[in-house]
Structures are given as C-alpha cells and as structure tokens.
Amino acid sequence: MNQWNEKARKELPMDMEEMLALDEALNQSESVKSVLSSLTDEEPSLAWRSELNEKIASIKPRRPKLALWVPISASAIAAATLAIVLFIPRNTERPAEVLSQSDRSVEALILRSHREAEAATVLGVASPTPTRNTGSQVFDWSKLEQS
C-alpha cells in the first residue's frame, strides 16, 4: 500500500495494479461522501439576488440605435403611404367623351352602342341577349329517313 500511497502523494503515474489498489481504497472511503453531502448550503440573501439581477440587467445586450430607428422609420413611411392612398381624393369618373360631329352619325352611334353592350357582357354587368324562341319546330331527321 505504501508504494502507491507515496505515488499518489507525489502525483506520479501508477501501474495497473496500483490504480486498482487506489480504486479499492476510494471505494472503502465512500462514507466520507455521505458526510459531505449532509453539510448544508447557505442560501444567498434576497439583497444579494437583487444586486445580481441589477448587474445582469446592466450587461444585457442593448439594441444599437440604428436597429431601433429602422423599424420606426419604416412604420412611419408605411403609415404616410397608407394615408395618401386612403384620404387624397381621386377622380374616379371617366372623363366625358366629347363626341365629334362625325361621331354623331347613326352608324357611329350604332357601332358605339354595340361596343358598349359587348363590353358590358364581357364585364358581366349585362347578360347576352337571349335567343328568341321562334316557335318553329325542330326538324325531325328520323322522319326523313323513314320516308
């Protein structure tokens, strides 16, 4: 025992056998662990904790000024744009068409009327003109074959 004990004291490297002897000695002195475990730890005071909180708060990483200004200015710009879009009056009426003399002709009026009706149909504000039921019977082709 003395040899490995001496080596342990001088922190010299041990061979396998000495290491086993050391492990055995450590196993036998495990009871010290239970003694140390039974020691109580004192809780730091609330004042101590409060002081620690303050210290941590003081080292907390702060946002750089630029990083603060970027979202603020972006929000301001967005708000201003929205205000412009919403509140500036816009003339939504179509300008009155000035009809020239040539446009007042019957042909021009018919053509214009046709275009407007077509545009209304395309936009879905007017249905296409229904086909009139002429009352004529449908031709029965089977009769033709029989004859």
């Binding site: 080596k7 004291r9 450590l26 002195s29 475990s37 020691l39 730091p44 609330l46 620690l52």
Partner: protein, 211 residues
C-alpha cells in the same frame, strides 16, 4: 428585466431532468429572462457553497458567486452543451476562484500538495473506526469538517468538493481542472484521508471527554 427569485432549489446530488435542463438551456440561449432566473434559482446555493469553501472570505465569496452567473450569462452563446450546465457553472466557479486566489494570494501556496500535514500518518480507511452514517452532524462536528476542508490545499479541496459534495464524475473533474483522471483519484484519496483523520481525532477527543 425581471429576474425574480424563485423557490426551486437543488439539493446536493439532485439534478434536473435531462429534458428539463435542455429546455432551460434553450431558454437561456434565447435570452429568456425567466429561464436564466430559474437557472440561478437552481444553482445559486450550490455554487455559493462551493465558492465559500474555496474562498474563505464570505463577502468575497458572494461577489465571486455573482461573477459566476454574470460570466455564464455573457458566455451562454459559446456554451455548446457538451458538458452539463452544472459542470459548466462549476468550471466557471473554479476558474474564478483560482484567478482570485492567484491575484490575491489568498489560498495557501501549495507545496508538495500540502500533504505533509494531511497524510503523514496513514489512516487505515478500511477499518473505519468511526461510522459516518451514525454520526449526528452537530454544529461542532460540522465546524470540524468545514475546518478540515478549509485547511486543505486548494488542489485537494477542489477535488473533494467537486466529487464528494457536487457528485461530479472523475472525468468531469479532470476536464474542469485540467489534470489526468489518475491525478483526480490520487487527490481525492488524500483529501478523504485528511478529512477522516480530522474527524477521527475529533471523535476520539469527544469520547474521552464523555468518559
């Protein structure tokens, strides 16, 4: 920022569940104040206990313990999670104690591990002429134990506290104090031997007083 003190504390040898520790670490890394407050709640008493036994000045121990958590807060981003949070905190605490000691030369300067006084008389640990299980840890005995720990060299004291008090594995201690595992075992053996001797002397003297 509100880092309110909680009520949950860990006793010696009590560890948070691995998934709970992982969640705690994740919260701390997100700079979640509540998570870091909980970390402090969990470990403040144990870290303070370790530091107080390493640095005998109580007031200084309080400052160093605060410094441990401040350093931890600052270094959270660099913590890779390979070691447990507890091991990491104790590593910070150990390094701070050593730094403080080297700066202020408060620890006794270790010479030949200070083992001349601690283990000249080889104590036969196999006989165990005192049974720790049956010993009631009265205030006097507690003082004897604390005194014995305090009179050890910093090297022995560190290993004894980290292993027997904080229940750290040999490998964890070896990594923390940067020595081989065999050296950790040797130091632990010598530290226990010294402590057993001191307790033995105390118990013998008190039994003689009773007679």
């Amino acid at each position: 920022m509100s880092l309110g003190g909680g009520v949950i504390r860990l006793n010696v040898n009590q560890r948070p569940e691995p998934h709970a520790e992982a969640a705690l670490l994740a919260g701390c890394k997100r700079r979640d104040d509540a998570a870091f407050a909980r970390l402090i709640d969990l470990y403040q008493a144990r870290v303070f206990g370790f530091v107080r036994r390493m640095i005998r000045d109580e007031e200084e121990a309080r400052d160093v313990t605060q410094e441990v958590f401040i350093r931890a807060y600052q270094a959270l981003d660099r913590f890779d999670g390979r070691a447990s949070l507890r091991t990491w905190l104790f590593r910070i605490a150990y390094n701070l104690c050593i730094d403080r000691a080297r700066r202020a030369e408060r620890f006794p300067i270790p010479h030949q591990l200070d083992t001349e006084n601690e283990s000249d008389e080889v104590c036969d640990t196999t006989l165990g002429h005192w049974n720790p299980e049956q010993v009631v840890l009265n205030t006097e005995l507690r003082d004897v134990i604390e005194g014995a720990i305090g009179s050890m060299s910093e090297k022995l004291r560190t290993v004894l506290l980290l292993h027997d008090r904080e229940d750290m594995a040999y490998e964890e201690i070896a990594a923390t104090i940067d020595v081989p595992v065999g050296t950790v075992k040797s130091r632990l053996f010598l530290a226990r031997q010294a402590l057993q001797q001191r307790i033995g002397v105390y118990l013998n003297s008190s039994s003689e007083e009773i007679r």
